[in-house]
């Protein structure tokens, strides 16, 4: 079944330019992506053994995807043996309906959430709010963008596009609505302290908690959550009902596999050896004093099964660490919103069209990649991201998904440059007309179909005499 993902209706050039014009976002993303990548290099240098664990972890993830049907059954019986309940959802709609039904059954009015890309993917908040349930994101960055009615700009730094003044003003409105004192300054500490107090009340009163999942262990029926703020702990231990929304690809077979993988998201994503708070849930509460009395796991497919037994199967090993975003030269310039999908950066370029069969993000493989291969090198799960982007470009040509003018211009360009004479002729032609298109020593435009290429690029002009011409003049006759 084809998956469904939300999409931004604005065309790519508009999304791209909005990203390039957002100075706050570019500065923050520059800072955090550099910090994350430097940290990653350092932790792997200090603990060389960790690379072995990573490689064994990749094998475990691959094996799990190959054996997914059995693991889903095993995971479900293990969770139910501990008193949890498992629901399966083939589509985004089914997943939202399942969570809504649980909320109705327990007469829930307020839901607290920890960060989950999957719940963004299925637009869970929208579904719950339409059913009259109030939903509060509790990850600080997610809370900020929820108040601004926006979407994440980086999977690990969702509010990277907001500056302190903007956040303070959002919190002032929020404080007025909640009847609280507004934050007294726009210092990061003060704003964080405000969010702590604001959300603490909600944590204690909410009827249901919703989390995503970083890993699921089939053998033990365990769900693993990784956070630095500790908010997932509160979501999972304060409300009486807990719902874990998990993609089927998060499953691994054995507890031993988890021990290999548990450090990988933090090591590769943010350069920490382990996230500050890592929570392993294997059942509902042991006592009435804390923890949920009822625990549900909603297992979501939404297009994932389609990728199994295809050349793209390794995409399902993604642990959402963000390492590919941190090294991507396109992502670091345009930021997450430009991708128009909940999944941004190289993994978003690959996964968005794959999950939706090119219904969403079909333009991404063509426009959002420079073919530098940095993502493929950075991916801890050895996903062949750059190769997949080339495959997706080929698939777009096969399916005629590109505008005819684009296909035609690339066709003629390749015809022209596939012989030495054709290449030289194009240079002579360019030299003859380039005077019209020069600005400050660079070529900035061209006639006809070639104009499109220059919309976002420039290039040096063709030399008065190329090396080959010089060679022919000086030595050509001598040999």
């Amino acid at each position: 079944m084809i998956g469904k993902l939300p999409s931004d209706a604005r065309p790519w050039p508009e999304r791209r330019d909005a990203g390039l014009a957002n100075a706050t976002m570019r500065e923050t993303l520059g800072l955090v992506t550099r910090r994350f990548s430097t940290g990653k290099r350092r932790v792997f240098l200090e603990d060389p053994a960790q690379d072995q664990a990573r490689r064994a972890g990749v094998q475990a993830k691959r094996a799990a995807i190959a054996d997914l049907d059995r693991l889903i059954a095993q995971f479900s019986s293990a969770v139910e043996a501990h008193g949890g309940v498992v629901r399966r959802a083939a589509t985004a709609e089914e997943a939202v309906e399942a969570v809504k039904a649980i909320a109705r059954q327990h007469q829930v009015q307020v839901v607290v959430k920890s960060k989950s890309m999957l719940t963004e993917e299925i637009q869970l908040n929208h579904g719950l709010e339409a059913a009259g349930i109030r939903v509060l994101e509790t990850d600080l960055g997610e809370y900020i963008i929820q108040r601004a009615h926006e979407t994440p700009s980086h999977i690990l730094a969702p509010a990277a596009h907001k500056n302190r003044a903007q956040i303070r003003s959002l919190f002032e409105t929020d404080a007025a609505e909640a009847g609280l004192r507004p934050p007294p300054s726009d210092a990061a500490e003060t704003l964080t302290q405000y969010a702590r107090e604001r959300l603490r009340r909600e944590f204690l009163e909410a009827g249901m908690g919703v989390t995503g999942a970083n890993f699921g262990v089939a053998e033990t029926g365990t769900v693993v959550l990784v956070t630095n703020e500790g908010n997932a702990d509160l979501v999972a231990s304060l409300p009486r009902v807990l719902v874990t929304v998990m993609g089927i690809e998060k499953l691994v077979a054995r507890w031993e596999d988890l021990t290999l993988l548990i450090q990988q998201p933090a090591m590769n994503g943010i350069g920490q050896r382990l996230s500050a708070y890592t929570t392993l849930i294997s059942g509902p509460a042991a006592s009435a004093a804390e923890g949920p009395a009822a625990w549900y796991v909603v297992l979501v497919d939404n297009g994932r099964s389609r990728l199994r037994q295809t050349v793209f199967e390794d995409v399902l090993s993604c642990i959402r660490c963000g390492a590919c975003l941190n090294v991507c030269p396109v992502f670091r310039q345009v930021g997450g919103h430009a991708y128009g999908s909940v999944y941004s950066g190289p993994i978003g370029v690959v996964e968005t069209p794959l999950l939706t069969d090119f219904q969403v993000g079909a333009e991404l493989p063509s426009v959002a990649c420079t073919m530098c291969h940095a993502c493929q090198e950075a991916c801890p799960m050895d996903i062949r991201l750059a190769e997949h982007i080339v495959r997706l470009r080929q698939e777009k040509v096969r399916r005629r998904l590109n505008p005819p003018s684009l296909t035609a211009s690339y066709h003629w360009w390749s015809r022209l440059w596939s012989t030495p004479e054709g290449y030289r002729r194009s240079l002579r032609l360019a030299r003859a007309v380039q005077g019209l298109y020069r600005r400050q020593g660079r070529l900035v435009n061209a006639p006809g179909l070639a104009r499109g290429w220059f919309q976002t690029r420039d290039m040096p002009p063709v030399a008065k005499e190329t090396f080959l011409e010089w060679w022919a003049r000086h030595r050509g006759g001598a040999s």
């Binding site: 500065e27 923050t28 800072l31 955090v32 910090r35 664990a53 501990h82 509790t138 990850d139 600080l140 960055g141 900020i144 730094a157 509010a159 990277a160 500056n163 302190r164 990061a188 500490e189 964080t192 302290q193 969010a195 702590r196 959300l199 603490r200 204690l204 033990t220 365990t222 630095n228 703020e229 500790g230 908010n231 702990d233 509160l234 231990s237 507890w255 031993e256 988890l258 021990t259 290999l260 548990i262 450090q263 050896r273 382990l274 996230s275 500050a276 708070y277 890592t278 929570t279 392993l280 849930i281 294997s282 509902p284 509460a285 042991a286 006592s287 009435a288 004093a289 804390e290 923890g291």
Partner: protein, 200 residues
């Protein structure tokens, strides 16, 4: 080995923003507790309230008296029949034990159970862990393996590797978001006479 693990744990835990104290002679525990209290609680939270949930083997010491001596205004023991959510939310300090400490990652593992609680680890702004040297393990991998070997996993296990933190506002690191901003470990017992038990 225990000594090396202790050294690595201390180095990494402190680098991640945690506080570390040692009582190699358990008789000095009350003094060490006082030092830790001054650092972590001190003037920041005068007349602080404490929720305490320690494993049975730590109950041989008079924690209630020691904590009051250090400056606590109230010490609430974990009692599943009471409203621990409200009590832990009102406290400034949570005191717990630990399953194990992993050296390589500077990690404290804690678990909830019928008689012990996890809310003291996350609701109060200060979390203090009291644990013996026997709990040291080299890596998270080893700790998790040991956990699995015992029969049946606890419903919730938490691995804590520093204070609650965020860099969500302009990339600035801030501690104490939803969980504690101050975390401390008091390690008791002697790491020096390591191995003597086996040879005896």
């Amino acid at each position: 080995m225990t000594r090396e693990w202790r050294d690595t744990f201390r180095e990494r835990w402190v680098a991640q923003g945690g506080h570390f104290y040692e009582a190699s002679d358990p008789k000095a525990l009350d003094k060490v507790l006082k030092t830790a209290w001054t650092d972590l609680v001190g003037a920041r939270f005068p007349a602080a309230r404490v929720v305490i949930s320690l494993p049975a083997d730590l109950n041989m010491w008079p924690w209630d008296a020691w904590l009051r001596e250090a400056g606590a205004s109230e010490v609430v023991p974990w009692d599943p029949s009471r409203d621990m959510r409200a009590l832990a939310a009102a406290a400034e300090v949570g005191v717990t034990g630990a399953l194990w400490l992993a050296a390589e990652t500077g990690t404290v593992a804690v678990a909830g159970g019928p008689l012990t609680g996890l809310l003291p680890t996350v609701l109060p702004p200060v979390h203090l862990v009291i644990v013996g040297v026997d709990a040291l393990v080299p890596t998270v991998q080893e700790g998790l393996r040991a956990l699995y070997a015992e029969d049946g996993l606890p419903p919730m296990v938490k691995l804590i590797s520093g204070p609650s933190m965020t860099a969500d506002i302009e990339g600035t690191l801030v501690v104490g978001v939803h969980g504690p901003g101050q975390v401390g470990v008091i390690l008791y017992g002697n790491t020096e006479n390591d191995g003597k038990k086996e040879s005896a």
